[in-house]
């Protein structure tokens, strides 16, 4: 429900007065075309030919020069993965600027590069590192729901990286990434199989979602189920009534369980394997807020937040990554927060826990890589939920609008990103923290 302030600033009068107006974002529903409008693929990098083919197979109208395409562009894919020197970036402006002028509402710009961390030559590194600054700035310039994101290949051999790059490009072009803007995703060389049924990329997978009784967790359960997964919805026993509703809605099962209990991991794993035959996807979404200025914070508030948001995840992961746990193709996705990246007044405990989550992801990446498992985090910005409804009005309104898309995200936006990371096709994305924040100014 729009509150009074939102009603006023989105009124015709406010629009005339020049108050920036949020655009209704293009969000994914199964069966939607990948992009709305023709796609320009250019840049002369390692991937543009294969991506153009893939896009055509996906039903998009593709051109390699702006003149070939009519009307407003649905997307612009700039492949600069081969740029080895800052002088190679001339093309970026030459091709990019006229194309950006022709972008449609809710269009996408996806820039492709090579991960500077894999390079040695100074000019080469500088050229590739430049792409990040470019993409983040362009994201801030784009209007009408359009976004700009950067995909960096880390593999030495582009042939190995291709399927993973495509998965990321496909995500950014689609309505699934509606609220992901100004972000960088690194893609490794793990083979990333395309889904047999693109409408149900998670078919046959068993997923557990903690904190699923409401808010973002309930939406994650719904989206994973929509994509074909069997969902185990976990929440504290006190939240059982709405948890049952969520589980029944997705035709999954409800498991009333406090994730901080010692044997929570074992109980989840046992439920998954005995009832559903395996455990493939884990989404650590349960989380709490206990805001207070650091000096005024009680020991209880401090400990509770770290316990639920951080320690429980470490403990459960030990079980999930141990014997009889996640197998090849397993996925762990943790909920971090932009507060964990940027910090936030009154949230020392929360930010500590959410930064700790990033530590978990970074630490586990190497451990699980050889087993075909990935561990990633999603860091939501301002998402419209009960949690954010409890934030005081002025702070809430600032949070809601301080981003490139000038609006709060929906739980569905976070869920779509998680569902993508859970796909077999996202096998090459590991150890990443992906922000779903509309390119929030916080910690940007």
């Amino acid at each position: 429900m729009a509150d009074l302030f939102t009603t006023i600033i989105t009124s015709p009068l406010a629009r005339k007065a020049g108050v920036p107006q949020p655009t209704k974002l293009r969000r994914y529903t199964p069966g939607d075309p990948l992009v709305e409008g023709p796609v320009l693929v250019a840049g002369g990098g390692h991937f543009d030919t294969s991506l153009a083919n893939r896009l055509e197979q996906a039903g998009a109208q593709v051109g390699t020069a702006l003149e070939e395409l009519d009307g407003r562009l649905g997307a612009l894919v700039l492949d600069l993965s081969a740029a080895a020197d800052p002088s190679d970036l001339v093309a970026l402006h030459a091709i990019g600027a006229p194309a950006v002028k022709r972008l449609a509402k809710n269009a996408r710009v996806v820039v492709l590069g090579t991960d500077p961390a894999t390079l040695t030559d100074v000019s080469h590194i500088a050229a590739q590192r430049a792409l990040e600054g470019f993409t983040r700035s362009l994201g801030k310039e784009l209007r009408f729901g359009a976004t700009a994101n950067l995909v960096l290949a880390t593999a030495a051999d582009p042939a190995l990286a291709e399927s993973g790059v495509w998965s990321a490009v496909e995500f950014f072009l689609s309505g699934r990434s509606a609220y992901v803007d100004g972000q960088v995703v690194r893609v490794g060389d793990a083979a990333s199989p395309s889904a047999a049924d693109p409408l149900r990329p998670l078919a046959g997978k068993v997923a557990v979602v903690t904190g699923a009784a409401r808010g973002i967790g309930a939406e994650i359960a719904a989206v994973l189920a929509r994509d074909g997964a069997t969902v185990i919805a976990v929440d504290v026993p006190q939240a059982g009534e709405s948890l049952a509703k969520v589980a029944n809605d997705v035709r999954g099962t409800a498991l009333q369980l406090d994730v901080t209990t010692e044997d929570a991991g074992r109980r989840i794993l046992e439920h998954a394997t005995s009832r559903h035959g395996s455990l493939d996807i884990v989404v650590h979404n349960a989380g709490i807020l206990r805001d207070k200025l650091f000096v005024n914070m009680s020991d209880d508030k401090w400990a509770a937040v770290l316990n639920v948001n951080l320690r429980s995840i470490i403990r459960m992961n030990e079980t999930f990554l141990g014997g009889g746990g996640l197998g090849e193709g397993g996925r762990i996705v943790c909920l971090s927060s932009i507060a964990g990246i940027a910090g936030n007044r009154g949230q020392t405990n929360y930010a500590a826990s959410k930064a700790g989550v990033i530590g978990i992801v970074e630490a586990l990446e190497g451990q699980v890589r050889d087993r075909g498992i990935t561990v990633n985090a999603v860091a939501p910005g301002f998402i419209e939920t009960e949690m954010t409804k409890s934030v005081p009005f002025a702070t809430r309104e600032v949070g809601r609008r301080s981003n490139s898309l000038q609006q709060g995200g929906l739980p569905k936006d976070v869920a779509e990103t998680i569902a993508w990371l859970a796909q077999p096709g996202a096998a090459a994305v590991n150890g990443q923290v992906l922000r779903v924040c509309g390119q929030s100014l916080l910690g940007a």
Binding site: Q238, E241, A244, A247, N248, T253, A254, S274, R275
Partner: protein, 439 residues
Amino acid sequence: MARKTPAPPTRQARRVAVLGGNRIPFARAHGAYARASNQDMLTAAIDGLAARYGLSGQQVGEVVAGAVLKHSRDFNLARESVLGSRLAPTTPAYDIQQACGTGLEAAILVANKIALGQIDSGIAGGADTTSDAPIAVSEDLRKILLAANRAKKPVDKLKALAAVRPQHLAPSIPQNGEPRTGMSMGDHMAVTAEQWGITREAQDELAVASHRNLAAAYDRGFLDDLVTPFLGLARDNNLRPDSSVEALAKLKPVFGTGPNATMTAGNSTPLTDGASTVLLASEEWAKAQHLTPLAWFVDGETAAVDYVHGEEGLLMAPAYAVPRLLARNGLTLQDFDYYEIHEAFASTVLTHLKAWEDEEFCTKRLGLDAPLGAIDRTKLNVNGSSLAAGHPFAATGGRILASLAKQLRQKADETGQPVRGLISICAAGGLGVVAILEA
């Protein structure tokens, strides 16, 4: 056309598994569920069961449930609850009513059909509300209204209605009393308790144990997969974890009369609202659903006593049902790891136990050679019972059944030994329903 010759009856009785249960927390009357109907509560209990066992959208063999206090609109309570629930609307259902034995009797009926191969799975349930109890008009007013309804012409209708007098307008609220004696259940029990010399102290001790056991069960998460919150209530709100014999000793007796009255609000169950469900199935169905049986439903028995003519106490029927069930199964009273004796009143439980130890009762009344003997009291109502949880009449059977089945499974897994439990429930009308579970 030649008729087919019927196939020979080769079907054997099948083992029946108790797969699990779900109930809503029980609420003291006129409290948390003051505005909930039997159907609301039963539907919520079924939905929680569906969520726990992945039954959303699935058809179950049959749902058998009932309520003791029923509105006329609840004539098809079980079926209407199914239709409002997440189960497939093609799930058949029917209502039963056997006073406080309703829930367990429903389970016996479901189990029997499963055993016979008539259904593969079923849900037994029950709901009761004293907060949303049906209120009837007085008998005189009812007759006048029916007469007016029968009248054809408006003027005749008016004439019929003119007979209404102010005294007719007082509503008739259902009484927790026996129709044939006019005495409340508590007053009946008070007579029996006094006959058997059940002391106040013993009753208060039993009540305290019930509260402590249920509180401990909640604390160790035992109820996490037995209860689903409803209307904001997450635990039985009659539960007093800090209940003590000293505090209970201060209460005044509410049933019985004279200096020997021992039954207080503390050692009697309060009026309560709630609903419960239990999922039962054949082994094959359980396997196909990837569900591990908690326990096997072995056998059930019902008995009745003649309390009307003063031959026996109103709530004494289980004392008769249990020995019959034991005899049929070749068991003694001591062959059990757990006993679940419904605490209608603390004195009911104590009377049954005393009767089974009593030579005269066992030989004269039960026709046995010797007393059944004493039980190990540490095996009695180990996770609390109705004194703590409350007792929404038709919902009690399902509460006990699911809780005992889970306790048996835990014990069996822990010890690697087969285990056995006894359920005994007394009911209005001089009825008693009892059953055996094994794991």
